[in-house]
Amino acid sequence: MIGYVLRRLVLMIPVAFLVTIIVFALIRLTPGDPVLVYAGEEKDPVALDALRHEYGLDQPMPVQYVSWLTHAMRGDLGRSLRTRQPVTEAIVERIPATLTLGVTALALSITVALAVGTLSALKRNSPLDLLATGLTIAGVSLPNFFLGLVLILLFALVVRALPPGGYVALASDPLDGLRHLVLPAVTLATASTAVTLRQVRSSLLDVFAQDYMRTARAKGLRERTVVTRHAMKNALIPVVTIIGLQVGAVLEGAIITESIFSWPGVGRLAVDSIAGRDYPVVQAIVLLSALSFMLSTLVVDVLYTRLDPRISFGDGGR
């Protein structure tokens, strides 16, 4: 087990290196000059050149890459070109907002998916089941930017029950924080609820068809016990994988959701920084999200093997 994890971690090193090259090449190939973007109406050429020099943008590309990489390996991700804020600080500052939104959305989607998915599997082909399956495909087909706009229209403008955007830390004002959280969390949760729900339903149905379920029922165990003890445990295995994948999907959905709801999280920082050519920030965010993506895949794989003893620590699907 430890050997397996170690082997996977070692394999990550060349991949991570490749990732840094892709990150750097992509963002630097993008035409545009950050100094001009942030110049606004102040375009004094002397001041602009001084800034380019200060940021090291007048250096040759390979020099800039090596310097970025060596600093990054020492944990120094540089300063934002736009704000001069240390990049690490800029990202750390936004993590609470992104986590609040992401965790809420994930919790919401898992709860709804497990509850509705189980009911739907138990009452297969009932009106509830048909409605749920219909809604799941609808849920994954609705772009979150459109859903977000419709929700703002309905709940912030027509009903005026909820704020149309913005972030209030839960710690500073729990009630107001919650009000601000509802719409973005629902927007973000919809697609992953649909995916998870579908998985819960279909794996429960698979399990119901297994022999040991019939045996359990034949033994005269109560239906409730059958479902919770036997079915759920076995059905959870693929669900865990899907939830693992949803962590990534939620982070990705946060990019758009945060932009629509003016949510000061990492996703919005990424979009803004790409548009503004804030190289150090984009490089750091993309690199960090790539690394955490790789790690979360590893965690899911490990969890998977823990839950299902039939799978050995071979080289898996790779």
């Binding site: 000059d33 004094d44 002397v46 001041a47 001084a50 800029a90 149309p164 709801f261």
Partner: protein, 532 residues
């Protein structure tokens, strides 16, 4: 540049302001200059106002600041040597009075003696000298070019300071209204170090103190109980306890925050929302002319589509400014014809070339040039719906004159780069937020080789006229120079196609009283108060 002459330039604005302000009964009725409350009811102290801004403040340090929105925060935290009143007139602030020497090469300021920075350090002539020298000489200073005409700053006595100029420079006072004239506590700046521009703690002397800023989330300012400003009844300003500035990029979300009562003030409202917002009983919308303009920038460089100025004129003739003003801006911007806005002293209200679209004339002019049908590429910033709508309308208008305009959307960063190098093939769109003096609206856009001259325009006669307008302090002579220049760079040998002038907007909750729009489009909370 004596005080008396400065007063003239505001007259036109006052009249215009009065017209536009009608239709918002119950709202502020205009304020007296600097420190006048002006509202009918008696102002009360206390309360928090949330102000939604279209973008986050990037640099609090006026030396570093580049973005327009930054100034909305600066004006609450810092005091400048001079300020403008709501009519655009330059009035005393930290400088109580000023005088220009006969040769125009020395300007002497008498300073207020009762001013303290938020960190407790006193404000005096030494502080002015330190600030101006810091702006002039720091490497990478964005203010260096504003203050380039200054040769030296001389402390005459603790509250008298002189600026010695290299040559007479008429627009100097106007530049001191803004960031180049803002005074900061040396102690606070030095203590702040590299992070000062994000955390300007204790540095200002203005009506509100900086408390904290969380990037892209909020900025908190609190009342400076020791501010020197007073209202017309002699009560201490400001009234408000706290201001929270929230950057909200999305236009519709920003205005929705006011509708739902989550915010109480905004000053950048999309034209299409204005009609709906006016009908909201809980809100007050105010609008007045300002100095900004919007223009189409053709590339006048040799070898590009608009090398021949007559083709620029053809485009100018073909477009329908009224339709643009009505359909794209819903009356929040008015048909415009150049760089000198109606509120500038050098404006000529009768100067309205191309008032009516003339597609037939444009067609004929293109034929006269004899290079075949005019066809060019217009660069538009990707993802900005107003620009897209505008470009598509212009495209349709030009089509009537058989001028083919192809749209190409690029990212903003990419367009800027092409503009800066003058390598875009056809034309682009650029707006300008406006400056108090017409020089600030004109010189850097038109003068050969100037930083914002993105059409790569060069006309020796215009350059000469603009130089003249800087060296004389006689307002009549300055105006004559500007009038002659504008005729050339707009009509005879056009540098650009100007199509609208901008307006200052202010959208406030009805219970937030005392605020009025300023011609620079920036908000001032010093006289604002909340009705209980």
């Amino acid at each position: 540049m004596a005080r008396s002459s400065v007063a003239l330039r505001g007259l036109a604005v006052v009249a215009a302001l009065a017209v536009v302000l009608s239709g918002c009964a119950g709202g502020p009725t205009g304020a007296a200059p600097s420190g006048g409350g002006g509202a009918p009811a008696k102002p009360t102290y206390g309360g928090t106002v949330t102000f939604v801004l279209e973008n986050d403040v990037i640099d609090f340090d006026p030396l570093r600041s580049r973005a327009f929105v930054d100034r909305n925060a600066h004006y609450q935290i810092f005091d400048s040597l001079v300020r403008v009143d709501p009519s655009g007139k330059i009035v005393p602030s930290l400088a109580q009075s000023w005088d220009t020497s006969a040769d125009g090469k020395q300007v002497t300021f008498k300073l207020r003696t009762d001013v303290k920075y938020h960190d407790g350090t006193p404000f005096d002539a030494e502080s002015v000298k330190w600030n101006i020298d810091r702006y002039r000489t720091t490497q990478g200073s964005q203010r260096a070019s504003d203050l380039a005409p200054i040769a030296a700053v001389e402390v005459k006595d603790p509250y008298t300071v002189s600026f010695n100029l290299k040559a007479p420079f008429a627009p100097l006072l106007a530049t001191l209204v803004d960031r180049a004239g803002m005074m900061l506590s040396r102690k606070a700046v030095e203590a702040g170090g590299a992070d000062f521009t994000r955390k300007p703690v204790g540095a200002g002397s203005g009506p509100f103190k900086f408390v904290e800023a969380l990037k892209d989330d909020h900025i908190t300012l609190e009342r400076n109980t020791e501010w020197w400003g007073k209202d017309k009844d002699g009560n201490k300003l400001p009234y408000l306890d706290k201001i929270i500035i929230k950057p909200i990029r999305d236009d519709s979300v920003r205005t929705t925050n006011l509708r739902t009562g989550d915010a109480q003030a905004a000053n950048n409202i999309p034209g299409k929302d204005v009609e709906g917002l006016k009908s909201e009983s809980s809100l007050v919308y105010q609008q007045s002319p300002n100095y900004g303009f919007d223009s189409i920038i053709p590339n006048r460089k040799k070898g590009f589509a608009f090398e021949d100025g007559r083709l620029v004129r053809a485009v100018s003739m073909a477009i329908d400014r009224k339709e643009i003003s009505d359909k794209v801006f819903f009356g929040t911007r008015t048909p415009g014809y150049g760089t000198i806005a109606p509120s500038h002293f050098a404006s000529d209200p009768g100067f309205k070339p191309f008032e009516k679209p003339d597609p037939a004339g444009a067609k004929k002019l293109v034929a006269d040039v004899g290079k075949g049908p005019l066809s060019f590429e217009m660069l538009v910033t990707a993802g900005t719906s107003v620009d897209l709508q505008l470009a598509q309308l212009i495209q349709a208008q030009l089509g009537k004159a058989d001028i083919k305009m192809e749209l190409k959307t690029l990212e903003f960063a990419e367009i800027l780069k092409l503009q800066d190098a003058c390598t875009f093939t056809g034309a682009t769109l650029i707006g300008w937020s406006g400056r108090v003096d017409p020089d600030g609206n004109t010189y850097s856009h038109i003068y050969t080789g100037a930083p914002n001259n993105n059409s790569c325009y060069s006309n020796a006669q215009v350059d000469k006229l603009l130089d003249d307008s800087r060296t004389t302090s006689d307002e009549a002579k300055r105006k004559a120079a500007f009038r002659a220049a504008e005729q050339i760079y707009v009509v005879d040998d056009p540098a650009r196609v100007w199509y609208v002038f901008r307006s200052s907007q202010l959208l406030t909750a009805k219970k937030l009283k005392g605020l009025v729009p300023y011609p620079d489009g920036l908000i001032r909370f010093d006289v604002g108060w909340l009705e209980k």
